[in-house]
Amino acid sequence: MLEHMTGQDKKSSLKEQIDENLRRVYQDALNEEVPDRLKQLLEQLRAKEAGK
């Protein structure tokens, strides 16, 4: 199928494939569980401020 495409088609198809994979890389990272220590850090900062 690729050989029937024009240069411009190939270029945009390539870009689409790259961007599709980039979104997946980012989405996979988004789906990872945020470590407890980062959530706790926010609570600690808030508690510290409340104690001022």
């Binding site: 690729l2 890389v25 980012y26 990272a29 988004l30 990872e32 945020v34 900062l45």
Partner: protein, 187 residues
């Protein structure tokens, strides 16, 4: 008049995106966590500088990437390699039939420089416009476009999908900007 949310209450909502962006830059879970931690502390102590009602994610991403690059400059753990040339020389081009295999893609993505991964994730995946990315990166919009095009071309080359560096260079910038914004739901 709508009431503006306390930015302190908004911070937790951005944790997953901050960590995803940190992972894109560091490609290492422990380093990403440290980077997010530094970012949160900096953001918290500078919250008075955040303009209520403006884009908090963009503000946080800016702090994160500035922290990352200043740390990188200080530690000099990496050889200066903005185009990923040295790193890429160790990489074996995958065999394929014209479709990208995700595993090959992530391996190639790892070969890019942090600067290249940054621009691609900002405009290609996390839903920021070229204008927003330019603001975060502290460069002109044209620089963001050319950096993104070069990074895409390098990925394509690493993956054996294109002949050379100029394949994507003349891609229409307007279309790219629209595509960047249309990806907002992923952010």
């Amino acid at each position: 008049m709508t009431s503006v949310r306390d930015p302190r209450d908004e911070l937790p909502d951005h944790l997953p995106a901050l960590r995803a962006f940190a992972l894109s830059l560091t490609r290492n879970g422990a380093a990403a966590d440290d980077l997010v931690q530094d970012t949160i502390v900096k953001a918290w102590t500078n919250l008075d500088k955040f303009q209520a009602g403006s884009n908090m994610r963009a503000w946080l991403f800016t702090i994160l990437r500035n922290t990352f690059y200043s740390l990188k400059r200080r530690t000099r753990r990496e050889v200066a390699d903005p185009d990923g040339i040295h790193a890429g020389s160790l990489f074996v081009k995958p065999a394929h039939d014209g479709r990208l295999v995700y595993k090959d893609f992530t391996a190639a993505f790892d070969q890019l420089s942090a600067e290249q991964r940054e621009v691609l994730i900002l405009v290609g995946a996390s839903g920021f416009s070229y204008e927003e990315a330019a603001g975060m990166m502290g460069v002109a919009v044209g620089t963001v476009k050319s950096r993104a095009n070069r990074a895409r071309a390098r990925l394509a080359k690493l993956l054996g999908l294109a002949e050379g560096e100029d394949v994507l260079a003349d891609t229409d910038g307007g279309t790219l900007a629209v595509m960047g914004r249309s990806g907002t739901q992923a952010a």
